[in-house]
Structures are given as C-alpha cells and as structure tokens.
Amino acid sequence: MLTIFLLLGLPLLGIAIYPFVARYKSFYTGFSSALGMVAWVVSVMALLLTEGQAMRLNTGWFKAGSFMPDLTLTLDMHALLMLGVVSTVAFAVQVFSQAYMRNDSRIATYYLYLHFFVLAMFLLVLSSNLLITFVAWELVGFSSWLLIGFWYERPKAVFASRKAFLVNRIGDAGFVLAIGILLALFNSMDYATIQQVFSGASGFNSGLLILTDGDAYPSYTIVSQFWLTWAGAGLVLAVMAKSAQYPLAVWLPDAMQGPTPVSALIHAATMVAAGVYLLLRFQFFFTPELLQSLIIIGSITAFMGAFAAFAQHDIKKILAYSTVSQLGYMVLAMGLGAWGAGFYHLITHAFFKAGLFLLAGALIWLAHQNKAMKDEQDIREMGGMLRAFPILHALFLIFAAALAGIPLFSGFYSKEAILEALFQGQGSLDGAWYLVPFLVWLAVPMTFLYMIRLWKYLYFGEAYDWKALQLRVPPAFLVPLVLLALLSLGIWQGLGLDFSSNFIYERIISSSPFIRAGSDAWVHGANEGHWVTYLSLLLLASAAAMAWLFFFFLKDRLQVPKFLRSLSINNWYLDKIHHFLLVRPMLQAGKGLAWLDQKFIDPAVEIPAKTTVILASIIAWVDRKVVDALVKGLAGLASFTGRLVGIGKHSGMQDVVLLAFGLFLIIMLWLVF
C-alpha cells in the first residue's frame, strides 16, 4: 500500500510545488531528480522484497447507471516489474537532463512535464479498471504531446506533436469501443471481474463463449464471440497506435523532434511499451482470430521497421525505427501467447534502448558544441565521435550488442524466448498467413546490420577533428548511461538458456491474476534441442559476414538499388499514403461540407424567408397600387364631381349652399311625385 501511495505521491509532489519554486531552476531540477531517485529506490525495494502477493486498492469515483469506474489499483508482480522499468528509466532521464537541458530557459517546465508523464505512466501500470487505464492512456499521450512539442516555436516539433496526438486518438476511439462493449457484456470494467468470467469459461463453441460458472453472472452465461472480437479489435487498434505498429507507426519517427532524453523515456522505453503492457493485462481475453492478427501485425512491424532503419541519416530516426521494429517483436510474442517472452523483451529493450537514446543524446549534445556542424544529428557529420570518446564507445557497444541479440547481453535472451515461441507457434496460422512470420527471421540479421552501419559511421568517419575540440562528457551523462549499461548485461539473466533460474523471467511467470492458464507452457522443456538458438546464432554469423562484405570489403562498389533506398528512407511512403487516404480527404470533406452549408443548407432555409419578403412586397404593391388607388380614385371622383358641380373656384359659400338646396328640392319633388 505504501508503495502505491509513494509512487503516485512523489511525482504529484513534484507537480504541486512547481508553482512555488519554478523560479529557482536548479533547486527544482535537483529536487525533481531526488524525487525520481526515491521513486526508483522504492520500486526496486518493492520488487525485491515482495512476496508475490497482489495488493488491491479500491476507491469509488462516480456512478451513472451501471457505469461505475472505481479507482482500482493492483500491485502485482507484473505491475512491480513495469514500475521498476519506468522508475529506473525515469530516474536515469531526470539525471541526464540536468546537463542536457541546462541552458534551456524553460527547464523547470520540462521537469514539470516529466513529473506529469511519470505520474500518468504509474497510474497506467497500476490501474486495473478499464476506464482508469483509458484515462491514464490518454494522459500519457497528452504528456507525450507536451514533450514532443516542448520547443513549441519550432514548426516541425509542433507538427510532430499534433501528428502523434491525432494518430493516438484513432487508437483511443478503438479503446472507447472496447470499453463500451465490455461494459455492456460484463456490466463491469474491473479486470479481475472480467477475468473471473473468463476463468469459468470452457472455451468457444460455435461462436459463443460458454461459461460453466453461470451463478456468478446469471444473465451473461453466454457471451457472443462476435462482440468479444469487436471489443478485442478495438483494443488491438489502441495498441497499434500507442505501440507504433504498422500502418500506424508513422508518428513515432516524427516524435523524435522532442528533446532526446524524452525520446529515451517516452518514445523508446515506457509509453510506447504501454500497448504491449495492455496486451499482457488482457492476455486472457483475445479470441483466436485476434491473436493471429497480432502475430501478423507484429511480424510485419518487426520487418518493416528494421527495413526503414537502414537508409536513415538522422541518428535518432535510426533508433526510432529500431524501436518500432522491436515493438513488433513484443506484439508478435503476445499474439503467440508467449506473454512472458513478450514482457521479458519489453523489459530488456527498455534498458538498452533508453541507453542508446541517451547515448545518442550525449553525442548530439557534444556535437552541438561544434559550431561548424550543419546538422548535429546527421551521422555523416558525426563521424569519428565514438573514437574520440572511448567511454561512450564502450557503452555504445554494450547497448548495440544487446539490441542485436549477441549472447551474454540481455537482448539475446529475450529475443531467443520470442523466436522459440515463434518457432513453435507459427503453425497456428492459416494458409498463406503462415508465411508472414518468416519476415521476423529476416529482421533478426537486419537488426545486426543496421547497428553495424550506425557504428561504422560513428566510429570511422572523419568529418571533424573531435579530439581537437577538447570536449568533456559531463558526469550527469555518464551515471545514467553506466546504470543502463549494467542492466543491459546478461548477468542478470542467468547467462544460460535455462529460464527457470532467470531473475526477471522467474518473476514474470510467477502468478498473476490476469493470465490465461497454460499459455506460456513452451518455456519448460520445450527448448531441449536448442534448435532455435543455433539457428539465430547462425543468422547472426551470416549477418556479421554480410556486414563485413557490404561495409568493409565492397564499400562503394556496392550499389543499392535506388528504389530500395528511397523506400527505406521514406518509411515505405507511409506518410504520403496516410496523407492521401486520411488527411486530405478529411480536410476536403471539411471544405466541401462548409461549402454545402453555405450554399445549400443556409439558403434552403433562407429561400422561404426571401419568398415571404417578396410576397410581402407584392402585397404591399397591390395595397398601394390597387386597394389604395381604388380609395384614392373614389376620393378623386368625389372631388372631381365637386369641382364639376361647383361653380368654380371663385364662387362663394352662398352659391354652393343655394345650389345644394336647389338640388335637394328637386330630388325631394322627384321622390314625392
């Protein structure tokens, strides 16, 4: 309980004191890092000391009909591991940013945003109520928007932040779909309650989920698989947006416009992994078709991301596409039912990828001191930097080895687990879909290759004489980098392939309330021949041979076909496709409807009004020219007669009276006789 309060309270404290101390920048940043360290210590202690018992905290929020989103927080082993990852990377980033953002006038605001993100992320990890998860899900997206567009005076950053937010909103619509359906089906949004319904299920039977335990949910003993598929599809859409799966992966490379430590924290290690975490929590729930679609989406993403990383020249973009590719592995694992392997890869990836990003940040920061440079993120201009800074070089090699999956480094073990699961689970796919996961086997050597390419540029190039610039790497950079490098070593993983003695893996597969029983059975005993291990080692060796051949032997003699190069550098032209299929039609629909509104709908109601006015004018005319004229005519007739009868203007009153009297007499006489 204390853990939950502390973890949510620490970032909240950081936010609360901001208005009072924002003026004292160095105090606030220092204090924030201290808070980050306390949170880190708390979460690691909780992870080490816990006895595996899940803790639950439940508070009511509000109620409308059957909609009762309780603030339910669950601290189980999975949450603890994820909290450990988030707080570790957050702490590393908070320390790193001390030096990286030192000269920014808005550094206090930056730390405020970091606190806000950490708070939302902790909430996301702890929540076990769908609506609370959704709230946190949107809030991490919002803080991502804040931080991508942190330098809001740069149009590119503004555009990137908007793109990220809008693509994620598409996913959010899917999330709402899932909430709506699940609430209608189960009358609850609590994970445990929904899970309980499934635990009583005896499987799918002709499109219906039959529940044996009918007493608990008397009115819902049969759940239509149709609706479950819809709800699951909504969640898959949400995951695709948040975890940058193709074809919604377009926002992540652009998100690199944010400050680099932010990319390490949000867009490599934690927020983008939230989708995978959601799959982990809802692993019990997906129907077979949806699991297959996850396999396919993950495989395609793993391959396409790796491919797009090849031709980039921006160091951050290479890492961003690599992240996309690695997220594909994780989603693939979830689809295979190897949730343990997927989560394991999430954890190892968080450390080595955050490390790579922070290292890139350090290089960019150093390159920034070199005033001669045109683009401080262009690897063609950064040549030789690693040679000039041997410490950074050593760290780079550790992280890169972990990413490429070299034995004795953390990435090797987690990737091995996924490949093993793939090897066994590939058969579950129907027909031609069976071929799709072979893309993953291609992605394995490709990862190795693009990292070698990056290393080649950074180590060998000689754009500038870096040593002569006499640059010094600040200690605030080295501390977090060393911490993350230690975590990327294989020692923690038990070094062997016997996962049961693995520190992290053992904790992952220890009991969790949200797991479908028996889905991760492949781990024990299945890997006896070490088949897959030999295969992936073989792939790595061939990749090394190819790397030597392409980058060191053939060098310029190798001509990569131009279309392949531009396909990679433009990320499969996805931005253009999205623009033509989504953005432009939407904008044009807006313009068209505005035109319709102005030209048709508005006049449609104005025509009767105008007709009335015209009709009124006609009536007024008739009134003036006909009715009025008639009256006037009568009056005129009278005056005409008067004048006719009257003797003239010069006649006096007496004459008229005399005439009238005479006429009167004549009429009387005529009447009488």
Partner: protein
C-alpha cells in the same frame, strides 16, 4: 424560505432592471447592477442545490383559469420547481451570467439599454429553467428572444442586423412549433391536483376516475400541463384525457401516425432549432460571429442548453413512446451533427466560427446520449449540456480576448502567440484540450458516458444501429483534429502577426480577464475529476425518465 428564493431568481433581476432606469446612473453603476443580479442567481442556485431539504423545492400558486362550460376548465399555474434537472442548469446560468457581466465592463454604447436588456435576459433565463407549467415555461422561453434580438442587433459586429433577424426568425419558428403542441396539449392534458380538488377526492382516486372516463367527471375536468408532478401528491404529470388524441392507449392516428408521434416530432423540431442540430443550425454561426463576447458566451453556454433542457423536461417525459419509436432519428441527427459540425469546424478560417461549429458537434453528443435511452446515455447527455456550457464560455472568452485587442480573429493572421502571451496561451490550451475531451476535464466524463450508453444501446436489438456509437467514437478523432490544429496554428509555431502594429496591442491577460477565465478553467477541471456531485443530483430525475422510457422498448437487454 425556499419559495421566496425561487421567485427571487426571477424577481431580483427584474427589480434591478427597474432600478436601472434611475436617471443619472452611470455605466459603472449599471454594470454593478447586472453583476449583483448575476451573483444573486449564482448564489441562490448554489443554495438551492446545496440546501439541506434537498428533495424538491417548488412554488405552486394558481395563476388564472378559463371556464369552458361543460368541457371543464383550463388552469394555468405559477409553478416553479428547482429539482435535479433545473438546479444544475440554474447554476450554470449563474456562472455564465457572472462571467458575461464581467465581460460587459467596457460596454459604452447605450449602457442603460444594454444593462436593462441584460437584466431582462437574466430574469427570463432563470424563469424558463424554473417554470414547471408549460405556459409559464413558454412565456419565459419566448420572452428571451426580445432582449437577445436587441443585444445582438445593436451591440453586435458589422452584420449584426442580419444575424439578429436570422436568429429571431429561426427561434420564432421553433417556438411556433412548440406553441402548436402547447395549445393542443392544454385541451387534452388533465390537471390532476385541481381536478381532485374540484371533485373532493384524493389524487389517486381521481386518476382512477380519469382512466375509467367516469360520468361524474363531466364538467369537472380541469385541464393544465405541468412539466413536473406536484411533489406532495406524487402522481405523474402529463396525464392525458382518456380517449383523447394524446391518449397512449387509444392511439388515434392522423395520416397513418398517432397524434402523439406528430406532437413529438413538432416539439422535437422546435427544440432542435434551439439546440441546434443539423440541418437547422445555420443561425448559430452567424449569431455567434456577430454577437459581442458576453452575448456569445450567454448564447452558447445557456441559450443552447435550453434546447437540450426542453428535450429532457418536456419532449421525452411527455411522449416517451414516441421517443423510443424515433430513437434512430434522434441518434442519426446526433451523429450527423457530430460529424458535420466537426468537419465544418476543420474548414473554418475564423476562430469564432470554428468554436461555433464545435458547439454544433458537441450538441450532437447530447442527441446521441438521449437517443440511447440508457441511464449512462442520459447522464452523459445532461453532463454534456453542463460541461459544454463551461467550456464554450471559456472558448468564446478566449476568442474575445484576442478580438478585443486587435479586432481580428482570422486563424491565419496569428502564429506563435504563446511567446508574447504565455498566460493567455496556457488558458487557451486548457480550453481547447477541454473541448477535445481530455480526461481530467468535464467534457471527457460527458462524452465517455454518452458513448458507453450508445454502445449499450447499439448492442441491444431494440436500440440504436451499431454504427452510430462507432461513428460517435470516431468523432472524438475529429474533435481532436480541429481543436489541436486551431490551437497550434494560433498559439504555437514561429511568432507571426499579420500587422506589425499589433505587437504593441497584445499584452498578456489583464486582471479582469484572469478573473473571468481562471475560475471557468478551474470549474471544468473540478467537474472533470469530481463528477459524482452533479451525477448524484441528476440520478433520481434521470432514473425516473429512464424508467418511463424503458417500458416502451421492444426488447429488454
């Protein structure tokens, strides 16, 4: 005590309006009068909502009646009620009026006329939310047109006359449709308390008599339309004459449709114009663009709400069977409004027009929630009325701040305002994010409730088609698109102003502007993280309505 409080909501602004005619009262004095009236409405409505005897507060006095010989008698009452439906709306009116009178501080053109009309408007607003007799409601509802017409037509922008007359005619047509039904209902709906009194029986006994068309009733029937049943008697309102055209069991038809359905459709259209829904919305952008900032705020935050309030208060309870029969029409109009409004907002170049179209889009959620017929949908629809009142007021004030300074609000004429006006940028960002439904703000609660209700209805055989909630959920993407895009174009990016001299004209927020903007921002936040208070007030009334509707569903989930 409570009774005087209710009447005071109408009388205090009226008395202050008379005071405003004291010769020699300066602009400042007049402004103070309007502020006093607004604060009174705010405090009194808060008192009513928080009061200990929370059940229902009402005033019930016979007003006048018409003897119709053997047919009976029609009775009109002075009947005011502050319950779960009207209470929150009064609170919203109080908040809005306070903000609007703060925003009126600088009105210098004919101040006496302006503030008199303002006070008259305030009185008729609280009157129409309080009224529980149909005629009384209609009087206040109609009377609101007069001050509003002049407030737009005299103190508005360049095309104010056109906008004012358009607003007037549209709303008048809506009112006429309502009037037709009103006249018909006064000949059909029985005034149970008065009939009971005349017969010397209890209300329950009278009801039984009325159903059986007993002979003793002849000449003793009293007609009258109450929107809310008299609390002490505890019988339902809208008791229709047995065998009459509005009798649900007799179901008399005209042109193949029951009279009840016709009456429902007329009332629906009447209130949809006010809401407004597509395609009767075109008065809104013109009225908003031409009206001055305080009047825009009142228009968006309170007057539009009367449309939704009328649906909750009159249309649905009077004809629940028709509401169920036409739920797909209402749902369709809702989804259409969501999409049409949002796409139109995306295309606007004028910031104020963008906000106006976003209002249309947001009101679509009200219709979708109402159409769902579920408790969640109802709560969400009502919550959306309240929340949109706060958020749209905030947005119009934000636009007003900009317009006050440079008399321009073309989106393309500004860029990167954050660098000059950080506080303004902060509150504008808050307003736009609240408008796109970010969790933590009141709009999120409203929209998620509406969508959840619509999904529940969409999965039920007798409910909405399933594509409607899906389309509604996708509408969230569009809302994010136009809000975010507008905000980023004006407040973010590189600094740019169309005219160089504007640079001196754009200081950051003044104290008075902060006083208007910050409380509204805080309120949207409070109602976003603590919705329980308002939802608990709503639950009994909406639950009653839900129950009334529920019996007409063909299938029960």
């Amino acid at each position: 005590m409570g009774e005087y409080l209710l009447s005071s909501l109408i009388l205090v602004p009226l008395l202050l309006m008379v005071l405003a005619w004291i010769p020699g009262l300066g602009q400042k004095g007049l402004w103070v009068l309007s502020l006093i009236a607004s604060i009174w409405i705010l405090l009194a409505s808060l008192g009513l909502l928080l009061g200990s005897d929370a059940a229902v507060k009402y005033v019930y006095l016979p007003w006048f009646s018409l003897e119709l010989g053997s047919i009976g008698r029609i009775q009109f009452d002075y009947f005011l009620v502050a319950d779960g439906l009207s209470g929150p709306m009064l609170l919203l009116s109080g908040i809005t009026l306070v903000v609007a009178s703060l925003a009126s501080r600088r009105v210098s053109k004919y101040p006496k006329a302006y503030f008199s009309l303002f006070l008259l408007l305030a009185a008729s607003i609280s009157g129409s939310f309080l009224a529980a007799d149909f005629l009384l409601f209609f009087l206040f509802f109609e009377f609101m047109l007069l001050p509003m017409y002049f407030l737009i037509g005299i103190w508005g922008g360049p095309r104010r006359t056109y906008a004012a007359i358009k607003f007037f005619i549209y709303t008048l047509v809506g009112s006429l449709l309502i009037l037709v039904v009103l006249v018909a209902m006064y000949g059909q709906t029985l005034h149970v308390p008065a009939t009971a009194e005349k017969l010397g029986l209890s209300a329950e006994e009278t009801l039984i008599l009325l159903e059986s068309e007993d002979e003793s009733l002849v000449g003793n029937q009293v007609y009258g339309v109450h929107l809310v049943p008299l609390p002490e008697l505890g019988v339902s309102s809208f008791v229709q004459k047995a065998g009459g055209i509005f009798d649900a069991e007799a179901a008399l038809k005209w042109k193949g449709r029951p009279y009840r359905y016709w009456a429902f459709l007329l009332l629906l259209l009447g209130f949809l114009i006010k809401l407004p829904a597509i395609p009767v919305h075109t008065w809104l952008p013109d009225a908003h663009v031409e009206a001055s900032t305080p009047i825009s705020v009142i228009l968006a935050a309170v007057l539009l709400k009367l449309g939704g309030y009328g649906l909750f208060r009159i249309v649905y309870p009077a004809f629940p069977d028709a509401a169920v029969h036409y739920l797909w029409v209402i749902g369709f109009l809702g989804v259409l409004s969501i999409w049409f409004g949002a796409l139109n907002a995306l295309a606007q170049q004028d910031l104020k027009k963008l906000v106006a179209y976003s209002s249309v889009s947001h009101m679509g959620f009200v219709l979708l929630g109402l159409a769902s017929g579920s408790m969640e949908g109802f709560s969400g629809a009502y919550y959306q009325l309240f929340s949109h009142g706060l958020i749209s007021a905030l947005l119009f004030l934000v636009v007003g701040v900009l317009y006050d300074r440079v008399h321009d609000r073309q989106i393309s004429n500004f860029s990167g305002l954050n660098q000059m006006m950080p506080a303004f940028g902060f509150i504008a960002g808050l307003a736009f994010f609240a408008s796109l439904g970010l969790p933590g703000f009141s709009g999120f609660i409203a929209e998620i409730l509406v969508l959840v209700g619509a999904f529940a209805s969409g999965m039920d055989d007798g409910g909405l088609p399933f594509w409607m909630p899906v389309a509604g959920a996708l509408g969230l993407v569009l809302a994010a698109a136009y809000s975010l895009w507008a905000y980023q174009r004006v407040w973010m990016g590189t600094m740019f102003l169309r005219k160089e001299e504007w640079r001196q004209l754009l200081p950051d927020l003044t104290f008075r502007e902060r006083l208007m903007l910050y409380p509204l921002g805080v309120l949207t936040f409070i109602f976003g993280i603590w919705p329980a208070w308002l939802l608990d007030i709503l639950a009994p009334v909406l639950g009653q309505l839900h129950k009334q509707l529920f019996q007409y569903y063909t299938s029960i989930p």
